[in-house]
Amino acid sequence: MGILLLLALWQALTSVVARSSLPTPLSVAIRIRQDFIHADQLSFYGLNTGLLDSMAYTATNVAAAVLMGAVVGAPLGLVTARFRLLRALVDPVLMTAGTIPIIVLAPFFLIWFGVDRISAMLLVAIFVTVILYVFAQRAADNIDPVYEESAYTLGASRARVVRDVLLPGTVPQILGGIRIALAGAWGLEAIAELMGAQYGIGKIVQLLAGATDVEGIFAALLVLGVVAVACDGLAAWVVARLAVWNQPARTGAE
């Protein structure tokens, strides 16, 4: 429904704005089909690839970055929520890292790690880490202490309290954080690629921007957008699966 509205709006706009700055939906769709496997325009720049491969490259980087960020950020957030000293140590570091704009950080990463995918991946992973760190920490702060107290009086060890109380009790918020991080990660990855990469959707945009190929840029961005929305839908579905217990009670009408 929302997509139809967007398309209609887009179509309407093309009748007022010059074709060279805003292509029609149909021409972009055709362009996506043309460029899907192999984009001729990119061959000029020595890039033998199409939208599919580039999208796969970008998606892999995003997935890896979100995974890295989740594995580092979430546990760190949980642990620091329970150990004041550690928190005082880690908080300032991550908060500072989180406020540096990616434009400032990117050149350093390109110098340190080269134009390989690792640069963009790490760049995105840092931001995902910070987001999930904050989400996990807040979730752990907010969980009612009665659950941990109850676990201890039942004989749980510290490790079991983390596994059976802290983790499941914070999973809904952490998963929510992963969705938000994922949504932001696409844009960050594209920017990171724009600033220096050999492949990816961002790289295509950068090359075609040099040739002011608006249609091509639109085609690339549309593919990126569709995949991002699809991934968010997938993430939402997984979130609902993983935290069944957290569903609102009144919806169970089966």
């Binding site: 109850s150 676990a151 499941p168 009670a249």
Partner: protein
């Protein structure tokens, strides 16, 4: 038979509230509870009952004084002292039966055995039919019963109960009194468990307790023995000795003038 199970000496606890004010939740509490005794703690809201239980459980360190259980100083919570909390403590992320099995699983009891025990206690609190449900699907009173089953199934020798039946209807409450009294009687090696039971309900205290300790403003202000035979029927509560205790309790709670 008169070995001391719980011994609090000169126990005090103060809290500093966020606004800077100092609250004395407990001051100079001396209390000896013998093994097998069923003690009810009564007193007005805010007098320190929960705080005292938390200190015995090892969840809150005292600001001063000593707490000894089983001859050992309490420094941390552990499975030898089971606690039913005033607040809801059932894990929302585990199904009802998994909640009841939790303590047993922490102590390494085999799956088949703990399933059997959990089923047995769920049956006793009348919740067999919701064993597979999520806690969010239960009513408030049912959640309380899950918490009770969880702690009872874990079989601790000392049971600390903080207004466990306060939210329950009269019939369920009376049924759970029987469950609790049975559990109390069947401790390890045929000995009674030790129970500290917080309640606002004077009648509940008189049905259950061997001894009623009255707290007010963080101090023990009275300590009454309840000698009536068990099971205590409705008639037993009307015996002159019981009526006298009830008058004393109501006076402490400010409901009757001293006479």
């Amino acid at each position: 038979m008169s070995d001391v199970k719980i011994e609090a000496s000169a126990l005090s606890r103060s809290y500093r509230r966020a606004d800077g004010a100092e609250v004395k939740a407990l001051s100079a509490v001396d209390l000896r509870i013998e093994a097998g005794q069923f003690v009810c703690l009564v007193g007005p809201s805010g007098c320190g009952k929960t705080t005292l239980l938390q200190i015995i459980a090892g969840l809150v360190p005292p600001s001063g004084g000593n707490i000894v259980v089983n001859g050992q100083r309490v420094t941390a919570p552990g499975p030898s002292r089971g606690m039913v909390f005033q607040k809801d403590s059932v894990f929302p992320w585990m199904r009802v039966h998994a909640n009841v099995e939790y303590g047993l699983s922490c102590r390494g009891v085999a799956k088949a055995e703990r399933q059997k025990v959990a089923a047995q206690y769920l049956e006793r609190v009348g919740l067999s039919h919701v064993a597979g449900a999520w806690p969010r699907e239960l009513s408030g009173g049912m959640l309380k019963r899950v918490a009770v089953a969880t702690v009872f199934a874990n079989g601790a020798d000392v049971l600390l109960l903080d207004e466990p039946f306060g939210a329950l209807d009269y019939v369920t409450k009376r049924q759970l009194h029987d469950v609790l009294l049975t559990l109390w009687a069947e401790g390890e090696a045929g000995r009674r468990r030790t129970v500290v039971f917080v309640t606002h309900d004077v009648d509940e205290a008189m049905i259950l307790a061997d001894r009623i300790v009255v707290l007010r403003a963080g101090r023990v202000v009275d300590d009454l023995a309840v000698a009536a035979d068990r099971p205590r029927t409705t008639d037993a509560l009307l015996l002159p000795g019981m009526v006298r205790i009830k008058h004393i309790l109501l006076t402490h709670l400010g409901l009757e003038a001293a006479r």
